[in-house]
């Protein structure tokens, strides 16, 4: 496991360029004014959640799930699902039983 950072980055350290990068990763397509506004808000929120660094978590494992269920499986049998028409019914563009999207590049 990677070494834990001692603390969150200091407040005021989030540049619009960094928000632009994250926006691109998340495919949000934000405009410059939107990025600036979000960068300012993100700074405040990240500073607030940064208080997590002062919680003493040295003696606990991270929660992976809260229910306590283990190894939930089912019989490996084929069951009816949605038909292709049903699965495609909400798609904005489709052709010959497929979803249609623009080329990657």
């Amino acid at each position: 496991m990677a070494k834990e950072r001692a603390s969150a980055p200091p407040a005021g350290s989030i540049a619009p360029a960094e928000v632009a990068h994250v926006s691109s990763l998340a495919r949000l397509g934000l405009t410059s004014p939107e990025l600036e506004k979000l960068a300012a808000q993100l700074e405040v929120i990240v500073a607030a959640v940064g208080q997590l660094s002062s919680a003493d978590t040295s003696a606990v494992e991270a929660t992976a799930q809260v229910g306590g269920l283990r190894n939930v499986t089912r019989e490996d049998v084929v069951a009816p699902g949605l038909s292709a028409d049903e699965a495609l019914a909400n798609a904005s563009v489709k052709a010959a039983g497929f979803l249609r999207v623009p080329a990657i590049q």
């Binding site: 070494k3 949000l28 397509g29 208080q51 919680a55 978590t57 929660t63 229910g67 495609l88 999207v101």
Partner: protein
């Protein structure tokens, strides 16, 4: 007096006795929605044809075999718009799902339909259930029926208001950090957030999968218990759903609170409670003590970090869950986009509102390389501490009581400019989601004319105890049947 003001058990008896039909009851519900909802904005869409057809079917069932018809047969309900309904548009309050007509229904909808309930339509909510006021819906504002200048609470605001204004007998909502309990408190109705896994999430449009639960909102504790009994239980379509007894919800409802140990978390009283809320809470404590409950202080020391942990974990899950909202399989699409990335960005930019963008960004940031350990991993460790706090408390007490929220309903627009102020609305509700335990909000009184809820938290699978405490308070507080001003119909 409207039929919609009566508890479900009474309505069910009268339906069976043929005092009126399910069609007549449904017509009354539809007429109330038509008259009252324009000022409230609870419904995103009403489905009169489906409702009347279901009511007619319920009438046949009640006529043919009244003694074996389920208690919910013929009872009008409605669903939060994050719950998929086959053939009925489901938007989650978002433009990116505008026009989406699910090809299947959520398990909870199928279960209620099989019992003969009457589906009235779909209820407004914050976009993808992200919000505490319903102001994040991209379609409309839901107003508080006690004061239309105030918010309904969120994110299941439409679900709470439809019950408070007696437009539906019960509704379903979803609760990720308080989204059932908070609007229930603000609107003066009962709202139950079941234990994680108690109710199938199949067909619930995901917000944060490790925190989300579907639950009922209703006028009375018994009505909420009746609906939860109907929707709870394991589902092969949701591998996180659990098999566990449900007979206690109704079976233990009237056992009273004599000798029951109730914990009052010291930290929950230190979050800047509104004086009126504190007063109602103190009165509730006295009432429950008068009925024989034994109260004691408990400590949940991780409370100060719970909000921060939640606002890392929930957005992290949002950033992952909402990746599927790309305009390809559903939504208005991406006309004119020339590359796939453009298509995604166009669909998501046009489709997501400010709060959803904020959380996707926050979650993507918290999970991105270099920040994962400082934020997500640490938040999941704090989550363990929150759960351990509750484990320790429930070793000493049977249930924990507190106000549901620090304040009563706030003014429309009051917190929209300050995300952190909005997030803090959930400070008393979200720890239960982090720990996966059960919680119910019950109307406890009024502060300056606005409803105030008592939150009862129970241990894992401890809903029966929550309902039992809620039932005891409901009997004494005598507020459940008070009608809000905007629920009064001319006809």
């Amino acid at each position: 007096m409207s039929l919609l003001e009566e508890p479900i058990r009474e309505l069910s008896r009268r339906l069976r006795d043929r005092e009126f039909s399910a069609v007549e009851l449904t017509q009354e519900a539809l007429a109330r929605a038509e008259e009252l909802d324009p000022a409230l904005g609870a419904f995103l869409r009403v489905t009169p044809e489906l409702a009347l057809a279901a009511a007619a079917a319920a009438d046949r069932r009640l006529r043919e075999d009244p003694s074996s018809a389920p208690i919910l047969c013929g009872i009008p309900v409605a669903y939060k718009d994050v719950i998929c309904t086959k053939g009925v548009e489901t938007t989650a309050g978002s433009q990116i799902l505008h026009g989406f007509v699910p090809p299947y229904s959520a398990t909870v909808v199928d279960r209620l339909s099989a019992l003969g309930v009457v589906p009235l339509g779909k209820l407004n909510c914050d976009e993808f259930a992200m919000g505490s006021s319903n102001e994040n819906s991209s379609y409309q504002l839901t107003r508080n029926p006690w004061d239309p200048e105030r918010v309904a609470g969120g994110s299941s605001g439409g679900s709470a208001v439809a019950v408070a204004a007696r437009l539906a007998c019960a509704t379903l909502g979803s609760d990720t950090g308080g989204s059932i309990r908070l609007p229930a408190s603000f609107s003066g109705v009962v709202g139950a957030k079941p234990t994680y896994g108690r109710v199938s999430r199949y067909g619930l449009i995901a917000f944060a999968s490790s925190l989300d639960q579907i639950g009922p909102l209703a006028k009375t504790v018994e009505d909420a218990a009746l609906v939860l009994t109907a929707i709870a239980g394991q589902d092969p379509h949701d591998s996180t759903s659990v098999m566990a007894p449900i007979d206690g919800f109704l079976g233990e409802l009237r056992n009273g609170v004599k000798g029951l140990r109730l914990g009052i978390p010291r930290e929950y009283l230190e979050v800047g409670l509104d004086p009126g809320v504190r007063e109602v809470f103190e009165q509730s404590v006295k009432t429950l003590e008068g009925l024989g409950a034994v109260t004691q202080e408990v400590s949940l020391p991780t409370t100060e970090y719970a909000l921060a942990a939640y606002y890392v974990i929930a957005p992290a899950e949002v950033s992952s869950n909402l990746a599927r909202m790309d305009g390809v399989r559903f939504g208005p699409g991406f006309p004119g986009a020339t590359t796939l990335k453009d298509a995604y960005e166009q669909a998501r930019h046009n489709g997501f509102g400010a709060e959803v963008r904020r959380r996707v960004i926050l979650g993507t940031y918290a999970l991105s390389s270099g920040y994962y350990d400082a934020y997500y991993l640490r938040a999941q460790k704090v989550r363990t501490l929150v759960a351990q706090d509750f484990d320790r408390a429930f070793a000493e007490v049977d249930a924990i009581i507190s106000p549901t929220a620090p304040t009563a309903a706030f003014k429309v627009g009051e917190r929209t400019a300050d995300p952190l102020a909005m997030y803090a609305t959930d400070i008393l509700t979200l720890p239960a989601n982090l720990a996966g335990i059960s919680g119910v909000s019950v109307p406890a009184g009024f502060a300056n004319g606005l409803p105030v809820g008592l939150q009862i938290l129970g241990p894992y699978l401890g809903e029966a105890t929550c309902f039992r405490v809620g039932q005891s308070l409901e009997g004494e507080a005598a507020v459940w049947n008070r009608l809000p001003p905007l629920a009064v119909a001319a006809k």
